[in-house]
């Protein structure tokens, strides 16, 4: 009986936790997550692999990698098979984490200031504007595009100084798909991801 009670308390605590998270506005999410991510980087300064795993775990529940990949692949998405789509999402996600981590290690002493938000293309979308502040440097605009899903708010695009991560890949991806097909794109992405992994391992050794 006592054990059951304890389980109940735990269950309630967990539930309220997730309810709280679901009620957070996109602005609050950006504030807490950016603070947590910068903390992770500061605390694990030397250990790149550990930083990558911790940041990935922190960010993954908030990112809609599926939609990001879909938007980046554009009109070719529908012509890909389910397996190809899965592979694309997996490789695109790795690339995104890698790209932003290399940026974050430079900005580890930075601070993220949320400037405000506004409704996006529809009522279910919100764009949060923020600025990365580094001592003695011009603030860097950093924008997050959120969408409301059944599992709460999720990010589907990030822009640095107005340059969207998705948009920047769409034309390049279509060039590759036109030349080498969807499998060609998957191969290109995974080759680059694994060579980047190799260089990270080499650096930490």
């Amino acid at each position: 009986m006592k054990k059951m009670k304890w389980l109940l308390v735990l269950a309630v605590a967990l539930m309220s936790g997730s309810v709280l998270a679901a009620n957070e506005t996109p602005e609050q999410i950006v504030r807490t997550v950016s603070r947590d991510v910068l903390d992770i980087i500061k605390k694990n300064d030397k250990d790149t692999a550990r930083v990558r795993d911790l940041v990935d775990a922190k960010v993954a529940p908030l990112a809609d990698y599926n939609r990001m990949t879909k938007l980046a692949v554009g009109r070719y998405w529908l012509s890909a098979t389910a397996e190809q789509q899965q592979a694309l999402v997996r490789e695109f996600r790795q690339m995104l984490v890698r790209t932003y981590l290399s940026a974050l290690t430079i900005y580890k002493n930075a601070q993220v200031d949320v400037k405000g938000s506004r409704t996006g293309n529809s009522a279910d979308e919100v764009n949060v504007r923020s600025e990365v502040i580094l001592a003695g440097q011009k603030p860097i605009p950093l924008d997050f595009s959120f969408e409301k899903t059944d599992a709460g708010w999720k990010v589907y695009d990030i822009s640095v100084e107005g340059i969207s991560f998705i948009n920047n890949h769409r034309n390049q991806f279509s060039t590759i798909i036109q030349k080498e097909g969807v499998d060609g794109l998957i191969k290109q992405l995974s080759d680059r991801n694994s060579s980047a992994r190799a260089s990270v391992v080499a650096n930490t050794k």
């Binding site: 939609r67 879909k70 938007l71 554009g74 009109r75 998405w77 529908l78 293309n121 529809s122 504007r129 003695g136 011009k138 605009p141 695009d157 822009s159 100084e161 107005g162 340059i163 969207s164 948009n167 920047n168 769409r170 034309n171 390049q172 991806f173 279509s174 060039t175 590759i176 290109q188 680059r192």
Partner: protein
């Protein structure tokens, strides 16, 4: 007769930017609609040429510069050129009726030119006078001129037809016109180019990682200009590929009117 032809030719040679701008404008007239890079077939070879020059000349120079020069010297040189950028930002802000930005830029120039010894030290940064990045391309964009076709200029790099106005103004009104003798003028231009390239060195790795560097530079440049013309708060993000179809995104409803054809159809703030 012969004389006037020679004069014209000399004009074209002495003002390569104007000459290229004129070419770009002419070409722009024959632009098919709904395509933000109608000159891609001309731009791509020019980009390859630029890449070659960069690899052989500019990048090694910039690397040598950052390796050899003590960093305070690098910093001072960079500050010096930024002070001139701030100087041009004053009229550019005024022409858009942005009084605060103009005042800030004026304040920066005054402080940095005097206390900062001719712009060598960025005192204004210590005083936290914000830097506004206005330029003459943004002035035209502010007043409703669409950006026109994207151009890749030999040696000068990416620019939209509208934004050519900025290098033209800076070139004709800038300090180069007043620097004598000629040797000093070349030195000024050369150091300016090396400093500008040195600023971009940290991005080289990222660029090398791209599948299609031409497309990457174009898409980055156009989105950044769109962002700047709207002072960091554009009404919508620039659609970079005309052929965008995602049923889930559109939710069955048509995408906001016929999708604006990238920079060709900018709406105004």
């Amino acid at each position: 007769m012969k004389n006037s032809f020679l004069n014209k030719q000399r004009f074209a040679m002495r003002n390569p930017i104007l000459f290229i701008a004129a070419l770009g404008l002419l070409a722009g007239c024959a632009t098919p609609r709904n395509n933000y890079d109608p000159l891609e077939s001309i731009n791509r070879p020019i980009y390859s040429f630029n890449e070659g020059v960069d690899k052989v000349v500019l990048r090694p120079l910039a690397k040598g510069w950052t390796d050899i020069m003590p960093s305070p010297v690098q910093k001072s040189v960079h500050n010096f050129f930024e002070n001139i950028v701030d100087l041009f930002a004053i009229p550019a802000a005024l022409l858009q009726g942005k009084g605060t930005d103009a005042a800030n830029s004026l304040g920066r120039v005054v402080v940095n030119t005097t206390a900062g010894i001719g712009g060598l030290i960025d005192v204004a940064n210590v005083l936290e006078i914000p830097k506004s990045e206005e330029d003459f391309g943004q002035v035209l964009g502010f007043w409703g001129l669409p950006s026109g076709p994207y151009l890749m200029l030999p040696l000068l790099g990416p620019v939209t037809t509208r934004d050519v106005v900025d290098p033209v103004v800076r070139f004709t009104a800038g300090p180069t016109t007043y620097i004598n003798p000629e040797g000093a003028r070349y030195a000024y231009t050369g150091i300016n180019a090396v400093d500008a390239r040195a600023q971009l060195l940290p991005l080289d790795k990222m660029l090398d990682d791209q599948y299609d560097r031409y497309a990457f530079i174009r898409d980055t440049y156009l989105q950044r200009r769109w962002f700047k013309v709207h002072d960091g708060n554009p009404p919508y993000s620039l659609p970079m590929a005309a052929d965008f179809e995602d049923p889930q995104v559109n939710n069955g409803t048509p995408v906001a009117s016929p999708v604006p054809a990238a920079p060709g159809a900018e709406s105004q703030p």
